[in-house]
Subunit: 442 residues, 2 copies
């Protein structure tokens, strides 16, 4: 059997490796436009900030690693067409057009950047920041610069803004929304995250209308104001890459992403799609959404590798569980925000607590801020956390809780671990559940 | 309504505080033999090691804190009898015997130390280590001592052994079992924990037969050998304190602990029991067991406070989820060990991995060792972890997983968070589940 995978991001490469882990026979062919593979986009800010030495350090494998595993990988190669009736893929490599037959085709084509809606008179010192090459270019361009303006960027941009501020740059972040990271944090938590951190000048509700050039300076026009900068990082608005999916005859959903069923199959026989290019279902609302996260891509890839080996594992609705580091603080989120609940007219109750990561008397402690969002019957639909400490596994527990439709009163029945040097005896998730139970009762 | 609580450990005090949080009317009376309340026994090793300055620091509240909340607390008071037909409790305070009527009686009497089976010729420089006062006495006795021998102690003892070794004492730990912490760790994980740490001389399978005195030295006789020491810490074998429960007419189970139903009610009307003195059910085996852990006590207390307020929350079977710090490493465990599965004849498969806490390329990383135990159908019944990093919430996720009877193939369908500075993109729990799936398939 030959599996052809288009795309070598987290989805495509994880799929290839897991197919190979499951069996040694399947022929695996990957096509990617990129020259860079197997790196972690989430680590780009850490290189810009100097926490990790170089961009080469965040590349986990080169193509030889895959060839050694008998995975054929074609770098700098464009797939130009799919004929799903003949089960062929056409690609261009080194100026030649070639065709290959597939038994199974997996579209892991990811997403692409949309140009910003405002005008930019000259792209000199104006940069995108979405992939490793963008990172390299920005790093090379930093010399002699002082003032940097980021515009409405998502996680990578916000994280990079703080990392560059830490290095001494004068950083302003113009955010179009009511707060940073609006998909993951409600206003008060986003505000708290900004308040706790230092170094970046945030301006929320900033509507950028144009970027003009004045000598060596850029002028960013927003809200009838102008800010000057040596360097501008553009918004990273992305849309799913669906050109090939359309070619193959795959159905496209309302979000402009490929429709798949729970087994990650498209409507076209033997054509699968995973990663940023697909539409998924929101666990809380039951409606279609997108989940352009490395974790979703990896999870889909592992499930699909099992299904291609004859299993029937399902990819279940998502709760978008995330964690990341902004400045000195980690933020984490799972489920929906209160703002989103309000937007869709879902009646919810929310509670916030400020507590500790470790036992109160323990030295080297970190504060922990938690917000929980419940339906009126107590079913937990969202949770957000901030702390200098490690909250990744704590939000994972919430991911399980939300996916299981648990009510806050069920949390107090759950068993948590305890030791003073790591966590309080009444677990913070239990603390906020008790707070929530009081609110719901009253 | 008057609730009388006997015992002011984690169970009794948490119950009192949570009853008061729920309503301001209930009259709450607590009796305790002890003078010290509201401290964390788990923090005793941290004080001995100097990580926390003094024993006073681990006392979270004094009795005034409870009086201010209108909770009557009688320190240094022995409850000598219960008459459940008259609903009275008799107690001795300041040499006087008094009687009080209860509407609801909660037995949170904890456990008591059993004298070791071997002979000790002279208790000079021989100490118990289970409560804060033991800690104070040991701390005061350390001066001028060099060689310390611990005998078959549980968590507090092992942790204290490493903390004292860190301070320069010459520490030997004689463990009667095949490895340390046999309730929580299988032999290879216990061995790994000892191997990774430095400073304590462990001898497993050590059968101590007597302690004799030779001048200022103690001689510990075990396995036909003798080791000398300046100071000996005795085993901390405990049994449930059930004298009052018997007085009240409560049924006692095979483990010598008070039988309760899922609502934490004893067989005697209006008499409840929580904490170390009760028998609970093991989730994995469905059979009675004990769970003498602060977390179990606190969870039972929170649930009972809700039930006394008219709810009907259940205390579900336990998986004994623990985390603690031994030397430089944290260990964590949930569910049953492979050794226990073998002992009860449950066929299981196990897998071990050595992985990282953070993304492989991230500096300041910690290794993470994971062992998973599954039934032959893939249902996860146990997990053990070791790391220098925070594994408390990670084992909590396993606690949920084991309680939900999840199979390892379901884990790969679950959503986990990811960011390079905190956790790998393929979560360690997913990594071990993939390893386990391979083992089960083959």
């Amino acid at each position: 059997m030959r599996v052809v995978i288009v795309g070598a991001g987290a989805a495509g490469l994880t799929l290839a490796s897991n197919i190979r882990n499951n069996d040694e026979e399947t022929e695996i062919v990957i096509f990617t436009k990129s020259e860079d593979i197997a790196y972690s986009p989430c680590a780009i800010p850490l290189v810009l900030g100097g926490c990790i030495d170089s961009f080469e350090d965040i590349i986990m494998h080169d193509s030889k690693h895959y060839l050694d595993k008998d995975i054929q990988i074609h770098l700098s190669t464009s797939v130009t067409g799919v004929d799903s009736s003949k089960k062929t893929v056409t690609f261009e490599k080194d100026g030649c057009t070639q065709t290959i037959i597939y038994d199974k085709l997996v579209l892991a084509t990811g997403s692409e950047i949309v140009a910003p809606e405002f005008e930019v008179d000259d792209m000199d010192n104006v940069f995108s920041l979405t992939n490793i090459n963008d990172g390299r270019i920005i790093q090379e361009s930093l010399e002699g610069k002082k003032e940097i303006v980021f515009i409405s960027n998502m996680s990578i941009g916000i994280e990079s803004a703080y990392e560059l501020a830490r290095k001494g740059y004068d950083v302003t972040f113009l955010e179009q929304s009511f707060g940073i990271l609006p998909l993951f944090l409600d206003g008060e938590m986003a505000g708290k995250l900004v308040e706790l951190n230092e170094g970046v000048n945030f301006e929320i509700n900033s509507n950028v209308t144009s970027i003009s050039t004045n000598g060596s300076k850029k002028e960013i026009h927003y809200n009838d104001k102008i800010i000057t900068a040596d360097m501008v990082i553009l918004p990273s608005n992305k849309v799913p890459s669906i050109f090939l999916a359309r070619e193959a005859g795959c159905e496209i959903g309302d979000f402009g992403a490929v429709k798949i069923n729970e087994f990650l199959e498209t409507n076209v026989e033997d054509v699968y799609a995973i990663g940023d290019c697909v539409e998924v279902t929101s666990h809380v609302t039951g409606t279609p959404t997108v989940s352009p996260a490395g974790t979703t891509a990896v999870r889909q890839a592992i499930i699909l590798s099992n299904n291609l080996a004859g299993n029937k594992l399902t990819f279940d609705p998502v709760v978008n569980t995330v964690v990341s580091k902004v400045g000195d603080y980690n933020y984490a989120s799972s489920g929906i925000t209160e703002a989103f609940a309000n937007m869709i007219g879902l009646p919810v109750v929310s509670a916030c607590i400020e507590t500790c990561q470790k036992a109160r008397y323990y030295p080297e402690n970190n504060k922990l801020y938690v917000k929980m969002i419940c339906k009126e019957d107590g079913t937990i639909v969202g949770c957000q956390m901030l702390s200098k400490g490690d909250i990744s596994s704590r939000i994972d527990a919430l991911s399980f809780i939300i996916t299981d439709n648990m009510k806050c009163e069920e949390i107090i029945q759950k068993e948590f671990s305890y030791t003073p040097s790591l966590v309080m005896v009444v677990n913070p998730i239990v603390q906020i559940s008790l707070e929530m139970m009081k609110k719901i009762k009253s």
